[in-house]
């Protein structure tokens, strides 16, 4: 039990990951899919940030009296991944706008129906 409680951050990560992943797979609305994808990515950001944390560690600044500090590298990595995530979301939403202009709908089923009628 204590083990589960001690690693609560990882449980949050797993929960968010599954919610996001499920949303991507199950929703037919193209915007909701992107939202799910965002949650899925965010969970990974949290995972990286958790990894970098050192118990009792301070921010990684060299100063008198502070020895243990958290690993800044995962945080830097995740800044890059956040930028990538923002770009992906922007591109995804731009595509949704174009799809709506072309099909007049953002529901997957509706779009499939229109494609098949050709």
């Amino acid at each position: 039990m204590q083990f589960i409680l001690d690693h609560y951050n990882y449980w949050i990560v797993i929960f968010l990951m599954m919610v996001g992943f499920y949303t991507v797979i199950s929703r037919g609305n193209l915007i909701k899919k992107i939202a799910g994808l965002n949650m899925f990515q965010t969970s990974v950001f949290l995972l990286y940030i958790s990894i970098g944390n050192v118990s009792g560690g301070t921010t990684p600044i060299i100063a008198e009296g502070f020895r243990a500090y958290s690993n800044p590298l995962p945080h830097v990595l995740i800044l890059t991944a956040i930028v990538v995530g923002v770009a992906t979301t922007a591109l995804g939403l731009a595509l949704v706008v174009r799809i709506r202009e072309a099909y007049g709908s953002i529901e997957e089923e509706e779009i499939h129906k229109q494609d098949e009628s050709f």
């Binding site: 990894i51 995962p74 770009a87 591109l91 995804g92 595509l95």
Partner: protein, 492 residues
């Protein structure tokens, strides 16, 4: 001076040229810039390949930070070979692109198109050259985001949904890779792939490492369109502009295969994978991919979609080679990466030339056109023969090595599957040839002129390369054999 910076120049030149290209006016000027950049990159890639051909390794420290702390570009024959394929295909696709793109893409978008093309090439080159696994993820996203954009520029509106579908699946794949990278970083504290291969064996038994491996393999498998994770590929290849189909079919999945080779053999090594069902999984999915995708290809009514399914089948062959995890098998896989780029490049170019004249890639529209466009038709036939694996073509060489690898391990069933796959290829290539040549021309009385030279010359260059590398396999097999030794961890 240049020699020591080749690996970085290969990434920096297209990266700097891409925004410049986007700002250039007109149609010809952006194209010319992209063409020049791709040719310079091709020359650099050849030079780089010549430097590491003997099996040596070049290490380039970015910003002077020594590895494993700084980002390292680590060039050996494996990635120099793949970089050569990427730069070479870009250099040969761009002359083809000029006329094809003018017809398919609105004029005001053309500078943006070439800008994205350069970014896509840049991402693919970056993936191959970098020795840092997180850097690899970033380049993977650069190439992916630009290829989503490029695919969405297709003429039909279905290009948009195809790009969207690819964006969702591609991002899931890349995020899986990111999770895996995070977990192995947590275990080892390093991101440098050469350093990882030293540190990972100590923690091979940890569950975290197994989980990380699973995430990375599934993530990369999504990008390389391993059956049954290939669902994004047929639509993406069918609706993308012709030039982009050529480029992506020849390079994008190949680069993902390279990442798989690196991860499985260099980073994790067979010492790890032999305790997991990895090899069996590759063999099983490879066999299924070859059979199922080839069957699907036979029933397609659209020539581009037919070739796209055939690509999934060809990926199956490469996976079989990786699954054998023997020197011969991986040699076959590396050779097939090169040969498949040549044959699919030629075939998609020939179909693109048909689309250029006819305006549709539906096979029913091709009736009798083969006799009106003999050069395009000839390229399609020769490319098709190479795809089938007829002796004297490049396709034969890779299949020959693959069958040898199967026989070496006494995997008779898999050897049989490879042959059945070739027979199925005969069926779907014949399907196109039959309509193009033996059906009477359509009643509408429309006749089509031969495709313009700027489309024919690149197509035929690739066709000739198919035959050249079918008759003289010294370069490809020699490079692949050295590559297998350099990759490490493969029993000789």
């Amino acid at each position: 001076m240049i020699e020591s910076h080749i690996s970085l120049l290969l990434v920096v030149i297209p990266l700097l040229a891409a925004p410049v290209t986007a700002l250039l006016p007109g149609v010809r000027l952006p194209w010319l810039t992209a063409l020049l950049v791709s040719w310079v990159c091709f020359a650099l890639a050849i030079w780089q390949f010549a430097l590491v051909m003997d099996g040596s390794v070049i290490s380039y420290e970015l910003g002077g930070w020594a590895p494993p702390w700084g980002i390292e570009y680590r060039i050996d024959i494996v990635n120099a070979f793949v970089a050569l394929i990427v730069a070479g295909m870009a250099a040969i696709t761009l002359p083809y692109a000029l006329r094809s793109v003018e017809q398919e893409i609105p004029k005001h978008q053309i500078p943006l198109f070439y800008s994205m093309f350069l970014l896509c090439m840049d991402g693919l080159l970056g993936i191959t050259l970098t020795g840092d696994i997180f850097n690899l993820f970033v380049f993977l996203e650069i190439s992916s985001l630009s290829s989503y954009t490029l695919i969405s520029m297709g003429r039909q509106r279905r290009a948009l949904t195809a790009a969207y579908q690819y964006l969702i699946m591609g991002t899931i794949g890349a995020t899986f890779l990111l999770i895996g990278i995070g977990l192995i970083y947590a275990e080892t504290g390093t991101l440098n792939m050469a350093d990882l291969s030293n540190r990972l064996p100590a923690v091979f038994s940890h569950h975290t490492v197994h989980t990380a491996f699973a995430f990375i393999v599934v993530g990369v498998a999504l990008k390389l369109a391993m059956f049954p994770l290939h669902l994004w590929l047929p639509n993406a290849y069918t609706y993308a502009p012709s030039a982009i189909t050529v480029f992506l079919a020849a390079t994008a999945t190949k680069v993902a295969v390279y990442v798989m080779l690196r991860v499985v053999f260099t980073v994790f090594s067979t010492g790890f994978t032999s305790d997991t069902p990895t090899d069996d999984m590759f063999l099983l999915l490879g066999v299924l991919g070859v059979l199922v995708a080839s069957f699907y290809a036979i029933y397609q009514g659209d020539a581009k979609r037919l070739l796209a399914y055939s690509s999934v089948a060809q990926i199956g062959y490469i996976l079989l080679g990786i699954g054998f995890a023997s020197a011969l098998g991986v040699t076959a896989a590396v050779v097939h990466i090169f040969n498949h780029a040549l044959m699919k490049g030629a075939l998609f170019m020939a179909v693109g030339a048909l689309v250029y004249r006819i305006g549709s890639s539906h096979i029913t529209q091709f009736s009798g056109v083969g006799r009106q466009m003999p050069w395009t038709f000839g390229a399609l036939v020769l490319g098709g023969l190479s795809l089938i694996g007829v002796p004297g073509t490049a396709g034969f060489i890779s299949k020959w090595y693959l069958v040898l690898a199967a026989i070496e391990q006494q995997a008779w069933l898999i050897a049989a599957v490879i042959l059945v796959g070739s027979l199925l290829a005969v069926v779907y290539v014949w399907k196109m040839v039959e309509v193009l040549y033996f059906r009477p021309a359509s009643d509408t009385g429309e006749t089509y002129r031969e495709a313009p030279l700027s489309l024919l010359v690149p197509t035929w260059l690739l066709v000739i390369a198919n035959i050249y590398f079918g008759l003289n396999a010294d370069l490809t097999v020699g490079a692949a054999t050295t590559a297998v030794q350099v990759l490490g961890g493969i029993p000789q």
